[in-house]
Structures are given as structure tokens and as C-alpha cells.
Symmetry: C2
Subunit: 422 residues, 2 copies
């Protein structure tokens, strides 16, 4: 007679092809922002097959848009629901939220990809496509873990609440909606692409937009104008300087191996509409990292000060001050005590499967963990199979072996955390 | 009994309100690229009123698109015709082309304007609006000059060919079409905004596009990517350096008072599509000035070399070389001998009206003069009432006094050049 642990691990090993097919179907549905419904349909179909109690709703009610942590410029959430599937426990055990986002960032220039960005192509044990690593692979691990427990005939005492949410890449409105709908648990795992590391702490982040004025002129007499692009370059230089200052202060050992713990990313620039004109406006957009132990407000104040200092040394910017806006997305940082029971249970499961200690670090990016912990009051760990360095880039892939191992580790964690019902 | 000169000058003085209304109507028709028909209708109505022989045609035939000097990315010229109006001479005199473009550059950010960009508002002797200076004011001077001669009952020996062309701001396809349709003359005046200076020489120019590759990554681990914006900044620095090198070589005294005789304008930059991603592509667009005494090919070669030198010092750019394209617009430089009879006649007319010698310089920007002279073989001078430094910028305006004086100067030039028929 096999133990519950052996049964779920064997189930996952024997059903790798099923798991792979599920992931491939998810990746082949391009769930960029506003187009999440196709991939959600794949998830919902799977949850129904597993007999989970379903809750599918279009977000926007329950006071969502008026909540202080709501941060989205999306006007319409219709047709692209959140989906929650509950594996109801027999009672008495601790509950667990398994949270993954279904939205993916745009594919970028398709020419940079060796194949169609949504191919789901498999080669040498890797599955390719936008969203494979961030984070449909992690979602597949969650569903395989639930399936393994369910189809091995095991009942748990505590509830397992699987959440497939939208809007993570744009500020977490999907997870916030789930919290406001009343979903709570004794812990949560978010399988974002951590390269199988455990992240009890997560960097927060916020999107900024800086508008830099110039003075238009004919390009042939460009000296009569002021090029907004040249002034924007000064702003970018200053942001690089600020990034260095902020990162020199980070002493948390969890960030030891991260080259830039809280980066300031310049994600976008747009200026000018005519090659022969001097552009009179440049717009920079980017993402500012927030340390686990600082508030978003402190970080915002530092950026405003840095721009103000720049204005003091450039005569043009002194008069035409760059305009700083915080818009679109914003993720709260996460800061779980590394000695929390959740970390211990997950670490043990990791050791059982991998035969070695896990790496425990701080995440170099924000996740919905900030919302679940700071708004929902839920202890959160981020741990998943994806390959961090391929997230958001061309030829994104995930190693299938990691997806299966993460499924085993999460399944074992559920058995321990929620307890097996005799 | 008044001389012909006195009669046309008095006519213009007495009909300033008519001229102002004409210009206002022209400015109030926003003739940005692809939307030229409304302003052309105002011109055509005026030409018909003056009894000119009209030739109105949609450009694109006569071998236009296959001509080596054709340079346009516009696919469709339908509905926005060129218009030519001929005041036929009695025979025996020299002919004159009066050429003006009807297209205007985009208005830019409307918030930078004190009023609607196409208001035609008049205040303190200035008429405001996109295109007022570049170059509807000059066109108004041409039409006032023709009207003054016609309505003063004067007949000229030589033909006067008035051309209202499209596409000047995008590379001169309108003027090229007029040349290819067979319009020739013994001289041409183009009343671009020269601040009432005479420009026998004109800077040529060409549009370029430089695509700079980066490597995408999640903004939270931006050190795993290569930001295309940072690489684009290196390219912009190199272009500034090239601009300095090229301008240090300019010794032509006609360029003496021009801070940057042949500028390289950075008109546009676009990179990235997501604040949280490291952008993998930046596209720079701009305009490169060409000296009157160099060929476009020589200038193109220099830019290619400058980029190639940059690639030699940056390891990333050495592998991912920026891609240089010449696209859209291209204007040939103009290089008329300052002792040409056209300059002498125009200078005399200038002295009659202004009571002083004109300033004769090289133009800091390209005009359709390059096409009329290099393709059409027509001696060209650029001279007009517009205020150079307001062209292509917010709150563009023209001084109405200059419009009227330019009309007088051009009318006197026509009387002398084409000769009054007894």
C-alpha cells in the first residue's frame, strides 16, 4: 500500500503527457490583456473535469474600482472573467489559495522569435511561447497537483482554492477582485517563474510616466527649438543615477545574488511625429521597483526629488518641469517572515522531491503576492517552475521537467498543509 | 498717368483686406498630408476668379513614381490634386514659375497653442495658424501679385505659371509631378518663409530611419536584457558628433550667420510597448541636411560610416548593428549662381519696395527648389514673407506687412522679368 505522498507523485509522473498537453493548450491561447477569455476557457474546462466548485465572474463590482489598492487604466473587464475552482475539504484542516495569473505581456516584435510567439512548440524538453514561463507553466503545475490528489482518491481536510486571475501584468486588479469577493485562506502559493526558488519577500513596483517638454521648430533650423528627446535623455540619465543610489542602500541578504534588487526600468519612449520637426514632447514610461521594507509612497517621493534636483541644474527643465505621473499598474511589495510555517512545509516538500535544500531569496519583481498579503492578510510564498530570465522576452520557454517537479512539490505541500482526511 | 509699377503697388496697398481674407481662408483649411483638397479648393476658386488657365490633376502618372527623384511613402494621391494656373503672356517675354506648396506639417500638441492651431486669428498685425508662415503666406503673396497685375489691366509678354503643389513637406512629389507634366520656365520663385531674405542656394535634406535592437526581458530583472533605448541614445550621441564634424567643414560665406548650416534633426523616437518590459527595439527617425555642394549619396555614405564606427566601439552594436534606411522624403539641394539675372531683378524690386539691399544667404532648409532646378533645369530663387523660426512650431504666425511687401516685390519682378506688353 502506497502512502498518499507516493500516490500523488506517481500520478504526476505517469500523467506527464496530460500535463504537457494542458500547458500547450493554455499557451496556444494568446491571453494578452483584454483577450484572456480563450485561455480562461481552457482552465475552466479543466476545473470542471476535476469536479471543482466553480466561481466565474467578471470583475469590477464589490467596490473594486474604489479600493485604494486598485490600479488599472482598463475600462472594460467584460467577457474576460476571473475563475476560481474550489476543492472543498472535509473540515478541520488549514486552507490554501493557489493563485496564478492568466494574462501575458505582448509578444513584442514577432521577427525576434524563432517560431510563432504562441506556438507551444516543444523541443529538447522545453515548451516555447509567450506565457509559457510567465506563468502558464506554474498554473499547469497547480492543476496537475490538484488532479493528482483528486484522481488518487485522496480527500483533504482544508479547502484548496485555485484562482486563475486576470490583470496581474497591469497591477493586480484580478487578484484584488478575488480578495474583495471574500476569498481568504491560511496561506497562499503563487507559482510565478522563480526558477524553483522560494521567495517569501517580493519586490513591489509601480508604473510611471514622465512627460518632458521641448520646443518645436523646423528640423532645418533645429537650433531655434529645444529637442524634447535630448531633454528626455537627461531624465533617463537621472533615473539611472537614482537607481544606483537606491540599490546601494539594499542590505537584505535575500537580495545578495540579485544584480539590481529594485530596478528602475525604462520601458517605453515616444517623441515626435515628423522627421523634419524638432519634437516638443517626449513621454517616457517605465516601472520602478519598491523594496519589501519600504512603502510605495516613499519610493514615489524619491523619484519626485530626483527629478526636482535635475531641474535645478538644467535651465530649460527649471522652467519646463517634467511632469511625473503614476499610472496603470502598481504592485504592493511582499514581506513574509522566512521562518513562517508555510516556508517550512514547502521547503520540506522541495527536499523530498529534489533531494536538496531550496534556495530562499527575495523576488526581483512584484507579484500579486503583495495584494494577497497586504490587502487580504494572507501569508504568501512565491515559488514556481518558470525560467525567470525568459519572462517577457522573445523565445520565452519553460522546462517541462520543472513543471512536473513543481507539481509534485505543491501536491506534497497541500497534503501536509491541508492534511489528509483519514 | 501712373507707371505699371505704381499701379500694381497701389493695387496691393488698396486691397490688403482682400489679401488678408484670402490668407485666412487658406490657413483655416487644415491641409495636412492627405487632407490638402480643402485648401486647394480655396486656391482654385481664386485662380478661376482671376481668369487663369487652370490645370488640376491628381499626381501619380507621367512616370512620377518611377522617377529617381521621386521619394514618397504615400500610397494614394487621389482627391488631393496639384493645381496650376497660367496667366498667358502676349509672347516674346521670359516666363516665370511661381511655386508654393499647400501641404502643412502636423500641428503637434494642441495644448502648446494659445488658440486653435488652424484659427487664422489676427492680432497686432500677425496672422496665426499652422501653415501661415510655411507657406500659405507666401502663396497669398503670389496670388496678390498676379491679381494686382491682372486687375490693373496690365498684360505681360511672358507666361506666369502659378503652381500650388502638394507633398513638399514629404519630399517634393508634387513639384516633381509638375516638372514631369512639362512645366518649364526661364526662372522660378518659391516664396518659402525666408524672413524676406533671398536664398539662391538651398540646403538639401533626406529622411532617415535607424532601427536599434535590444534584448527583451522583464523590467524587474532588467539586467538580463539590453535596453534598446540605451543603445539608441548611443546612436543619437554619434549623430550629434557627425553633425558637428560635417558643419565644421562648411566654409560657404552664405552660411555665415547660420548656427548649424546642415543639421541632423532627431525628429522622432519610438521604443517599447510595455512599461514593465525591457524594450527590444528602438526606432529613430530624422532629417539629415545636405550641403548645396555635396550630393545626397555623399551625405548618406557619411552617416553609414558614422554608425559603422560606433559599432566598432560598442560590443552589443558590433553584433546587433543598427539598421539605416532612407525613406519617405528627400529634397535635392539647390545651388544657383548669386550673380544670376534672376537675383539681380529680384534684388532691384526688393530695393524699390524696401528701400534697402536684400540679405542674400543660403537657406537652412531644403525646398522644392532642388527639384525645379536639378530635375527641371530651371533657375530658382527662394524668397518669401514667412517667419522662419515659427515654421513647424506652436503658435506659428506671419506678419501681414511682410505678405503685402513680398506681393509688391514679386509683382515688380514679374513686370521686369516677363516684360509689360505695350
Amino acid at each position: 500500500m502506497q502512502t498518499a505522498e507516493q500516490r500523488v507523485r506517481n500520478y504526476i509522473k505517469e500523467n506527464r503527457i496530460r500535463g504537457t498537453r494542458l500547458l500547450q493548450k493554455m499557451v496556444q491561447e494568446p491571453s494578452t490583456r483584454g483577450e484572456e477569455s480563450g485561455a480562461q476557457a481552457v482552465i475552466i474546462e479543466k476545473c470542471r473535469e476535476l469536479g471543482l466548485e466553480m466561481d466565474i465572474w467578471e470583475i469590477g463590482s464589490d467596490g473594486l474600482v474604489d479600493h485604494p489598492a486598485f490600479c488599472s487604466d482598463r475600462k472594460d473587464f467584460r467577457g474576460n472573467p476571473n475563475a476560481v475552482g474550489i476543492m472543498r475539504g472535509t473540515g478541520g484542516g488549514k486552507s490554501m489559495i493557489l493563485n496564478g495569473h492568466i494574462d501575458v505581456v505582448p509578444a513584442g516584435d514577432p521577427k525576434d522569435w524563432d517560431r510563432d510567439p504562441f506556438s507551444g512548440h516543444i523541443e529538447c524538453g522545453k515548451l516555447y511561447g509567450r506565457g509559457s514561463t510567465d506563468m502558464k507553466g506554474g498554473n499547469a503545475s497547480l492543476l496537475m497537483a490538484i488532479e493528482a490528489i483528486k484522481n488518487s482518491g485522496i480527500r483533504l481536510k482544508g479547502n484548496v482554492i485555485f484562482q486563475s486571475v486576470i490583470e496581474e501584468e497591469s497591477g493586480g486588479a484580478g487578484s484584488l477582485a478575488a480578495v474583495l469577493r471574500g476569498y481568504k485562506a491560511d496561506a497562499a502559493i503563487i507559482p510565478e517563474p522563480t526558477n524553483m526558488k522560494l521567495f517569501p519577500k517580493q519586490q513591489g513596483s509601480m508604473w510611471f510616466r514622465i512627460s518632458v517638454k521641448g520646443k518645436g521648430a523646423h528640423g532645418g533650423t533645429r537650433y531655434e527649438g529645444v529637442n524634447a528627446i535630448e531633454k528626455a535623455i537627461l531624465v533617463i540619465d537621472r533615473l539611472r543615477h537614482l537607481e544606483r543610489e537606491r540599490n546601494e542602500r539594499i542590505t537584505d541578504p535575500f537580495f545578495r545574488s540579485i544584480p539590481i534588487p529594485i530596478p528602475i526600468n525604462i520601458g517605453k519612449i515616444q517623441a515626435g511625429d515628423w522627421p523634419s520637426s524638432v519634437p516638443d514632447l517626449a513621454i517616457i514610461e517605465g516601472r520602478m521597483g519598491v523594496a519589501p521594507n519600504e512603502t510605495q509612497e516613499e519610493a514615489k517621493r524619491e523619484m519626485a526629488e530626483a527629478l526636482s534636483n535635475l531641474c535645478n541644474i538644467d535651465p530649460w527643465l527649471k522652467v519646463y518641469k517634467p511632469e511625473l505621473q503614476w499610472f496603470g499598474a502598481s504592485w504592493l511589495p511582499g514581506d513574509l517572515d522566512p521562518d513562517h510555517q508555510l516556508i517550512k512545509v514547502l521547503s520540506e516538500s522541495y527536499k523530498d522531491v529534489k533531494g536538496k535544500e531550496p534556495l530562499i531569496e527575495a523576488s526581483p519583481w512584484a507579484t500579486d503576492g503583495g495584494i494577497l498579503s497586504k490587502v487580504g492578510g494572507i501569508p504568501v510564498v512565491v515559488f514556481g517552475p518558470g525560467v525567470t530570465e525568459t519572462a517577457h522576452q522573445a523565445n520565452e520557454y519553460i522546462r517541462l521537467e520543472d513543471v512536473f517537479e513543481a507539481a509534485e512539490i505543491i501536491a506534497l505541500t497541500l497534503l501536509e498543509w491541508c492534511e489528509v482526511s483519514e
